[in-house]
Each structure stands twice: as C-alpha cells, then as structure tokens.
Symmetry: C3
Subunit: 336 residues, 3 copies
C-alpha cells in the first residue's frame, strides 16, 4: 500500500543505506521467505545463515551488521522495535462495531460507554463499568464491581470474576481468568475451611495477559500488576502478588501468593516463584527455575540440571543422591 520511503517515515527509522531504491511494500516476512516487495529484519545471530540469501526487498538491521546485507539495509538502532512498528501497518484487526450485541446480557446498573463494543453471549455484572473504545469479545463474563478502562480489548471468553480494575489499553487473550478466589485454606480439626478472598485485582495501563492465564484476587487488599506488564499464556499469579512495571513473564510460569516481583524483570517459561518472596528490579530467571528465596541483587538466576541423554543422566542422577557422602569422603581424603 505504502512506498518504502513512506513506511520508514511513518515509523521514524534513522537511516537507509544505500538510499537508492524505493518500492511499494506489500508486507513483512521472515528472512528466508521474504520476497522483493517485502520487508524483513535481522537481530541476534540466530538467523545469520538466512541473511545472505534473503530475497527481501529491504532488511531492517543494526549499523554494526548492515554491511552483511547484499540488498537494501534499513539501519535502525533497535531493529526489533522498528520491525514491530512496520509490521503493525500490515496487521489485520477483527471487525469491531460499537454497541451491545442483542445476545449479550448487561446488568441494569452496569455502565457501558457508548463507544464500547460488547460481543455475542457476553455478560456484564452489577455495578461494573466498561470504558470508551473498549471491546468485550464473544463469551466474556464480567462479574460484579469490575472496572474496565478505555481502549481495552478482551478478545473472547475472558472472565473478570469480581472487583477487577483494568487500566487503559489492556489486552487480554481468550480463556484468561482474572479475579478468581485466591487459594486460601486453613486446616481446622482435620478439615479445610475456606479463607474468604475479600480483595480485588488491579491491572495497570498497557498490560497484556495471555490465553488461559489466571490471576487471583487478593485475600486482603489487591493483587497488582503495574503498568506495561506482559504475561504470556498459561501463567498463574497467586493472590496478593505484586508485579512491577515492564516485567515480562513467559508461558507456564507462576508466582505464588504474596510474592513481589520487581520492575523490568524477565521470568522464563515454566519458572516458579514461591510465596511471600521478594524479587528486586531487573532480575532474569531462566526457564523452569524455582525461586526459593528472595533475590536482592539484579542479575540472572537459575536452577536445574543440564539436558543429557537418558543413560548418562541416570548415572549422574544416581550420584546426585550420594553427593553428600562423596563430598565428605573427599574432605576426609584431603585431611589425610
């Protein structure tokens, strides 16, 4: 639709080297698949093997690697972000109409902005408010006393159970459940009794929450995601957790109740953080690591053992059981 020059102007990229070619950009594609009317990108070294042979019309790249591009290089200080901006020009958004679908059920005392869209089979509970420009997709259930800000999108089949407040531009993918009861139980004479979960959930502006992710509401006080927190799919966030701004969590990770995660953290896939811990700002947790104590220093943290063929692994695993004995023997040998 747009010429390359216009595309570049729209997203504000620094420079083009060599500035010799222009064409109508038909789309974006990966290096190995891009054609002459498409824009591709390169960052990291993982796909260097595709760089030389790429037929892309133009390749977004950082200055250091620009000389590797045979054709047209679009030099950007942050190629990933530049690509994201260009790709957004080619995104196909679902059709959106304002108003409440006839099959939706809205409580009498709920307030839905005139420019909001409530999809088929959605329901909005008592005293809840839906902000301007927000889309509540098919099959969503908004419970009681919830507030959804402006320009949010709940794609489909999202549940906000009770006392959930979303900021502006919050994006929630299907199957996510926000504001269910936290897991509060107390043992009493051999039976569990339920600890009521009286709090809510507060989610800041520009957060994104993945498919089938669950965020429980607080027992006392709220569970909180600060602004620009990015959660992938199938994540579990326990009651009264706090997650700092700009933190991202990969799929299947989990944070147990009352833990606090700092700002600008990266939590790897399948990683877990035990309850009541504190993790400071700018911590990276690698995939499937279990965080068992609070972390007070920024940096990267891990647990687990390396991948091995099963036969070798069995030998190492058997020795793991003997580690203390082996170490004692070694220490004793040293003393002889």
């Amino acid at each position: 639709m747009n010429s390359l020059a216009e595309v570049i102007r729209l997203v504000g990229i620094e420079a083009v080297v060599p500035p010799i070619k222009n064409f109508v950009v038909s789309g974006v594609a990966a290096l190995e698949f891009a054609g002459q009317s498409e824009v591709s990108f390169f960052y990291g070294n993982r796909y260097r093997k595709y760089l030389e042979a790429s037929k892309a019309g133009a390749i977004i790249i950082d200055a250091t690697n620009a000389h590797l591009v045979k054709g047209l290089a679009i030099v950007a200080s942050n190629p990933h972000a530049a690509f994201a901006r260009i790709a957004a020009l080619f995104d196909v958004k679902p059709a959106r109409t304002t108003g409440v679908h006839p099959s939706a059920v809205v409580a009498d005392d709920a307030i839905v902005a005139a420019t909001a869209s409530i999809g088929p089979h959605a329901s909005i509970g008592a005293r809840s408010r839906i902000g301007a420009g927000t889309m509540i997709g098919p099959g969503c259930v908004i419970g009681e006393d919830c507030q959804v800000g402006e320009d949010c999108e709940l794609v489909a089949r999202v549940t906000l159970v009770a006392r959930v407040r979303l900021g502006q531009r919050v994006l929630i993918h299907p199957g996510a459940v926000i504001g269910a009861d936290g897991f509060g139980i107390a043992m009493d004479h051999g039976h569990w009794i339920k600890v009521p979960q009286l709090g809510g959930v507060r989610i800041g502006d520009d957060c994104e929450i993945g498919a089938n992710t669950t965020i429980d509401r607080g027992a006392l006080g709220d569970t909180v995601l600060e602004e620009d927190v990015r959660l992938d799919n199938q994540i579990q966030v326990g009651h009264n957790v706090r997650i700092g701004a700009h933190t991202a969590m990969a799929g299947c990770s989990a944070v147990a109740g009352s833990a606090s995660i700092g700002r600008h953290c990266l939590i790897g896939g399948g990683a877990g953080v035990l309850g009541h811990l504190e993790v400071c700002d700018r911590v990276v947790i690698t995939a499937m690591t279990l965080v068992t104590h609070s972390i007070h220093e920024p940096g990267e943290y891990s647990s687990g053992t390396p991948l091995m063929d099963n036969r070798s692994w069995r030998k190492s695993a058997a020795r793991f059981k003997q580690l203390d004995t082996l170490a004692r023997r070694l220490n004793a040998g040293d003393k002889e």
Copy 2:
C-alpha cells in the same frame, strides 16, 4: 456491623486478652494496613516485623505469641482458622437469583431444582441434574449425564463434559474443565488410535477446584476426588487418578493417569506425579518436584537443585554431567 464481642461469639473463639475493649468491627485487614476498627491476625513468623507497629483494633494470635501484641489480642488455638471465620462475616457474595436465565438452554430431560440458579448463556445437557441451592454461573456448559449436588457453585464458564458427579457444596472456579477425555492413545502401524474414555468423574463433598484446572474422566471406571480435596488453579489431573480426602494441591501441579494420592497430602506448586504411582497418606511434595516412584512413608519429598546465580549455576551444571566420572575417580583414589 457487629461489635467485636459479637464477632467473637459468632465464630466461637476461646478467649480475649485483655478483655477490656469492645468496638464495632468494620472489617478485616493485614497487620500493616489494619485500622483501629479492623481485625487482623498473626501466625507463622513471616510478618512479625509488622506485629509491633500494627494499628489493628484487635489481632488474632496464638497464646504463645499473645504477649507480643501491644493492643488487643484475640487468643485462638488456630489463628488462621479463626481469622477465616471472622473474614467470612465480611465476604461480599455475588447476587444470586433462583431460576433459569432466559438466555440459558436446558435439555428437555434435564432436571433443575427449583431453588437452583442457572445463569446467562449456560447450557445443561440431556439427563443431567442440578441440585437445590446450586448456582451454575454465566457461560457454564454442563454436558450429558452429569449430576451436580446441592449448594454447589460453578462460578462462570465451567465445563462438565460428561458423566461428572459432584457432591454437595462443591465450588468450581472459572475455566475449569471436568470430565474431558483422558489422554488415551495407542500406537498402531505408525498412527495413533484413540482409546475411548468410557468412565466418568466423581467429586466428593466440599471440594474446591481452581480456575482453568482440568480433571479428565476415567478410561474405564472413574477419576475420583474424595471429600474436601482442595485444588488450586491450572492443575491437571489425569484419567483414573484418585485423590484422597483433605489433600490440597497448589497451582500448576499435575497427577498423571491412574496415579493414586493419599489423604491429607500437600502437593506443592508445579510438582508432578507420574502415572500409575501410589502416594500414601500425609505426604508433602515440595514445589516443582517430580515424583518418579511410589511413596510408602509419610514425610516430605523433593527433587531439583537450589537457586543460584547463573554464572555459578553453569559451573555446577557442567560438573553434574561429570558426576559419575568424578565419583569413580574418587572411589579409585580411595582404593589406592
């Protein structure tokens, strides 16, 4: 609403020390946030730092620690349970009306008790029964041949697929799927063929099942949760599993097919139990542990490695691969 004296009477707590003050209790709150008209609680030692400075009107605490309270101590043998009972007085339950919402779809031969509530966009399949006082929330799907007991609550978007029987007072949170096909496949000449899942699921009285948790129905015979089993969010329970009474499982844990878990067990977050194993009563499994063999002795069990900074962890992980060689060398050295 109620005076402290009345609150205490309602929940049957042992004693108050000193018995000198009474006030209208406005609510419950955590130690660090509670005001003079609120009740708070203390157990464990984690929040001892907040105890002294707390402005709570009264603090529920055990006798041993009661002397630490500057203000009013409500002495209870089980402060957590006592707090749960008091907090329940302040819980806000969603509005509930009896009857079938006009948008719900109920099969002709399904039986819904007059005092049950069937929410918007719910559907009830053939030959299913919904007991007295039970609430089926918005968007729930009850399949065929299911029985839901009395005073149950399926909060929203819960699915009972087929042949699921719930006892009394079962609470199920949004997104849970009970009674889907177990994962039964047989390899046959290079292709998988499906093993039909002919059984059902039986869930005992007073069970609670978390958001987006899945419990498959049996291949032959039923998957069983005995009474008072408490499952957190995102848990996977395979076909023909049996979970004993009063066992609690934390978020993201999983039990593979045909395994049997005893009574009064605690399964930590992200832990897994392999198929066909038996775990006896009163076993504690720590978070993210993999149970690879049956457990016949009560106690606490673990696997995994401790949390380390990534640089140190890499060194230990590399040595883990060499463990058998290192151990052999040490043994050989001993023999010299």
Copy 3:
C-alpha cells in the same frame, strides 16, 4: 449387544486361544473389575498382579503372555490397539443434531455446511467456514478467517481466534485456545511494544488437542501441527512452532516460539523445549525435562534430579552448589 465372536470379527483380531467359548459382551473393564460378560486387556507388566485373579470373560493379550490367562485369551499382536477398537464399540457419544442452534450467532459471510452442528451460544466470525459433519459445541468462539474441515469436533468452549485452519477429524477439548497472539514484544526505550502476530495456525488431519491447551498463531507465517499430532491438556505451543506428524505431548508440556519438533516424538508431562531449537524425529523427552539445546540424534533425553526424602535432598542440594569446587579439589588431588 454383540457376541464375542462378532466383536472380534468387527475389530479384526488375529486369533483366540482357546477357541472354546462365546458370550454376549456387555462391555469392557479393567482386569480387577471385569465380570464374566466383559472384555479386559493386559499389556506391560504393571498389572500382572491382577491377571491371574481376573474374572473377565476374555482378556486381550499378546502371544508371549497368553499362557498366563486362566480363562479365555484373545491373542493380539498389539493388545492396546485391539482393546481401543473393542472399547470404541461401547463408547457413548453425545447426541448430535445438525444445524445451527437458535442461540448461536453466525456472521453473514461465514459458511456452515448443512450437515454441521453449531451448538448453543456458539459464534462464528466473518469469512469462516465449517465443514460437513463437524460439530461446534456449546460456547465455542470461532473468530474471523478460520477454516474447520470435515468431521471435526470442538467439544465445548473452544476458541479459534483468527486464521486457524483445521484439517479433517480434528478433535479439540473444552477450553483450548488456538490462534491467539504469539508472545511477541520488543523493548523500546524502557517500554514494551507489541510485535504484531500476522500469521495463522495450521492443524493437520486427525490431531487431538486437550482441554485448556493453547496454540498461538505465527508472528510471520504459521504455527503448524502436522497430521496425527496428539496433545494432552494444559499444553502451551508458542508462535511459529512446528510439530511433526504422530508426535504426542503429555499434559502441561510446552514448546517455546519457533522451535521445531520432529515426527514420532514423545514429550513427557511438564517438559519444556526452549525457543528456536530443533528436535529430530523419534526423540523421547522424559517428564519435566528442559530441552536447552537442539537434539539431532533419536533417543531418550532427560534433566532433573531424582526424588529424595527432603532431609537427604537438602544435603545433596547444598553439595550441588559446591560441585565445581569439589571437582577442582579432586582434580588437584589427582595431580599430586
């Protein structure tokens, strides 16, 4: 309903030893529960303890073990597959009517085959197509530009978000979300910006997808499951992943973005594969293993440590931290 002879003929089993008895088969059951009119099966050695005492009318078994059967042995080269075929004769399928339920919402330009069934509270988005004989269960949401092949079954509350193409005979269990945005974010001046997810998802013939499993659509190009891939519950498949034909993944496993899994692989429960890796054909990954590098040789792979009582585990875990030091000391001692 059918005589044993007819049942055997229907599923094409090799031989019966001794060929002396026939009866009307009332159903199938496990060895320890089967009665005289029921068929049971034996494979592996796990349930050998039940074999001798079984009251089953007939037992499906391989030739090697047939002599262990006191009663009637149905000898099959693949007892598991033979049992699956016989059990299918006794499966109770939910009632299915063709046509669109009055409560369903279908876009004007969506195309639904006359023999398809669209259940209560389902919605079908613009330009989507539903094939002949396919069942879209209650509460399913089919977004825009999706294609569902023939004889598929989406049991209930399944979401296809956008640009999802299913082959023939695909079975998807409740709560699954296919085609949500992949987790694409780029850091830009301290804030995340979203990388548009422009691709789709392609799922081959005869795939089965478990309850609450999530499969994201591609960022550029498609996420692909080849034919006959079998996914259990609560699995996460990232954007642009490719999973080869006949691969099976157990519950709670996950594959991160752009990873490629071969054909005929078995991925254990809770296992994870990091992004951008390649796993070749016929690889077995044991439960809760983290795959941190590409695998180019067929075989079995593992990580983790064995299950231990917590007291012993704490000792080994403490020594794990010292492993590099211990190994250096041992090496130094060798050199003396």
